[in-house]
């Protein structure tokens, strides 16, 4: 009997270490991401990040009296709720892994977070989505704008990296502000590192509890979005899944790992989405609204520069904010405010219609050729990155 319980305890301990201490393999996270994005698509609609950020920005400007129309409350807006889930999931799991810490940086790095967030917000307004809504999901939904943004993100990452290299060569590194310790000598009153995993467990348990509360308030869809968003946050934080890395590394170190992961994830996502759309489980044009090609391309370039300066993309900023990075918290706030302003400006000046419109790939090529092209682009991207990893032909520093 003792052996039975001790073996259960040992198995529990091992599983806990695998889930919450060791990093998850990135390829596994890529597969999980595709499955979770498909679940959100079946549950409600296309998964997105920017719409949630914009809702937060809209609410701030409404409270300041700048906007006259009242936006949906953040806890009732679909994309905002999945963003909150992502943030909570990353926060909870970072606490459990002992990786949550308020990480400050120099004023200069914080300024880069602010500018990077602003550029991401404006870029996402042009492209009608960030690296998720405008690229990953757009491609997964067979919206041609996703490919234009992919090219834009590549160009933007290249320009952003050039800026960072110039900065490194010309601007001296700013030192961290001197922190005055407020700790009393002797043993600390509260040992935070021992408490953190329990606090993380409570945060994670609050997510199904919130799902239940949404369900009993007749808002089960929102509850599901919070839940799936949290699973995405957990997955991305544990594997440090980073879209910015996929676009940056081929130019910086040549490392092709993240390109492989995103390409694999896209192939799985596309297969699932094709099944769903072909069988009309969701409308064919669901998630096909990206301004092909100009808006997506221009937005991608601006967004790509921003994500390099901020050190995280739409999702990367959010899960890193959940880990306590002040620079990325600033980037998220700046993204939300500038996306709201950028979106409002594009509407007000009638620019949106001139940027392009949603084009559904199978409408242009037919389903068989669209599927073939879809697979070839993802495979071609991965093969290019692997070739570049070996030859470093595109590495600029």
């Amino acid at each position: 009997m003792i052996t039975f319980w001790s073996s259960i305890r040992e198995e529990f301990r091992r599983t806990y270490i695998k889930l919450f201490h060791d990093s998850w393999p990135a390829w596994l996270a890529g597969i999980f991401l595709a499955i979770l994005a498909l679940m959100i698509f079946l549950w409600d609609n296309m998964w997105g990040i920017t719409g949630g950020f914009r809702n937060w920005g809209d609410n701030v400007f409404y409270m300041l009296g700048i906007y006259s129309e009242q936006p949906e409350k953040p806890w009732l807006s679909n994309m905002s709720v999945s963003n909150l889930g992502l943030l909570l999931g990353a926060f909870g799991v970072a606490l459990m892994a002992g990786q949550f810490k308020i990480r400050t940086s120099s004023w200069y790095e914080h300024l880069k977070g602010l500018v990077g967030g602003a550029l991401m917000g404006i870029g996402a307004a042009f492209a009608a989505g960030c690296n998720i809504g405008g690229f990953y999901n757009a491609i997964g939904m067979f919206s041609m704008g996703g490919y234009a943004m992919m090219i834009g993100l590549g160009i933007g990452a290249y320009i952003g990296l050039r800026i960072l290299i110039w900065e490194m060569m010309n601007i001296p590194q700013q030192s961290l502000p001197q922190m005055h310790s407020t700790e009393m000598p002797g043993k600390p009153f509260i040992n935070w590192s021992r408490i953190a995993p329990y606090a993380g467990g409570l945060v994670l348990l609050s997510i199904p509890a919130a799902f239940y509360l949404y369900a009993v308030s007749d808002r089960v869809v929102l509850g599901g979005l919070l839940f799936f968003g949290a699973l995405i946050g957990i997955t991305m934080q544990r594997a440090r899944l980073c879209f910015a890395r996929a676009f940056r590394e081929p130019f910086m170190t040549g490392n092709a790992d993240m390109v492989r992961v995103i390409a694999l994830s896209l192939i799985i996502y596309g297969m699932g989405s094709a099944v769903i759309k072909f069988n009309w489980l969701q409308p064919e044009m669901a998630g096909v609204y990206h301004p092909f090609w100009f808006g997506s391309l221009l937005g991608g370039i601006i967004f790509g520069i921003g994500m390099l300066l901020a050190g995280g993309c739409g999702t990367g900023s959010l899960w890193r904010a959940g880990e306590g990075h002040v620079k990325l918290i600033i980037a998220v706030v700046s993204f939300a405010l500038f996306n709201s302003l950028g979106f409002a400006a594009l509407e007000r000046f009638g620019i949106r219609e001139k940027l392009g419109s949603g084009v559904f790939m199978p409408d242009v090529f037919g389903w068989p050729f669209a599927l073939m092209l879809y697979g070839l682009v993802a495979l071609g991207w991965a093969l290019w990155a692997i070739w570049n990893e070996k030859t470093e032909k595109f590495v600029i520093f």
């Binding site: 990093s23 990786q99 810490k101 990480r103 400050t104 940086s105 120099s106 790095e109 960072l164 290299i165 490194m168 590194q173 030192s175 961290l176 440090r240 980073c242 910015a244 890395r245 940056r248 910086m252 170190t253 040549g254 490392n255 790992d257 390099l308 050190g311 995280g312 890193r320 880990e323 990075h325 620079k327 990325l328 520093f397």
Partner: protein
């Protein structure tokens, strides 16, 4: 290899910097060093725990090891190849 016994030729402090700056500065520092010299990197970004060991074994370099220290920083050691 015992990290405490490594003779360090150059130290790079990336405290407070976040992805990708620690890796970019590591790359620059290694470019300025001669073969056989050892670079010690001080970092606070959790992403570096994955990035620096991976990069440390590229281009003929050798990643010698890493160590967490009490103030929350991590020390990394790379031998230039």
């Amino acid at each position: 290899m015992d990290i405490a016994t490594i003779n360090v030729d150059k130290t790079l402090d990336t405290s407070g910097l976040s992805c990708p700056m620690p890796l970019l500065r590591t790359k620059k520092a290694l470019k300025e060093m001669s073969a056989g010299q050892v670079l010690k990197i001080i970092g606070t970004d959790p992403g570096s725990k994955k990035d620096i060991p991976e990069y440390g074994n590229k281009d003929g370099n050798e990643f010698l090891g890493m160590q967490d220290v009490d103030n929350g920083s991590t020390l990394y050691f790379i031998k230039k190849g």
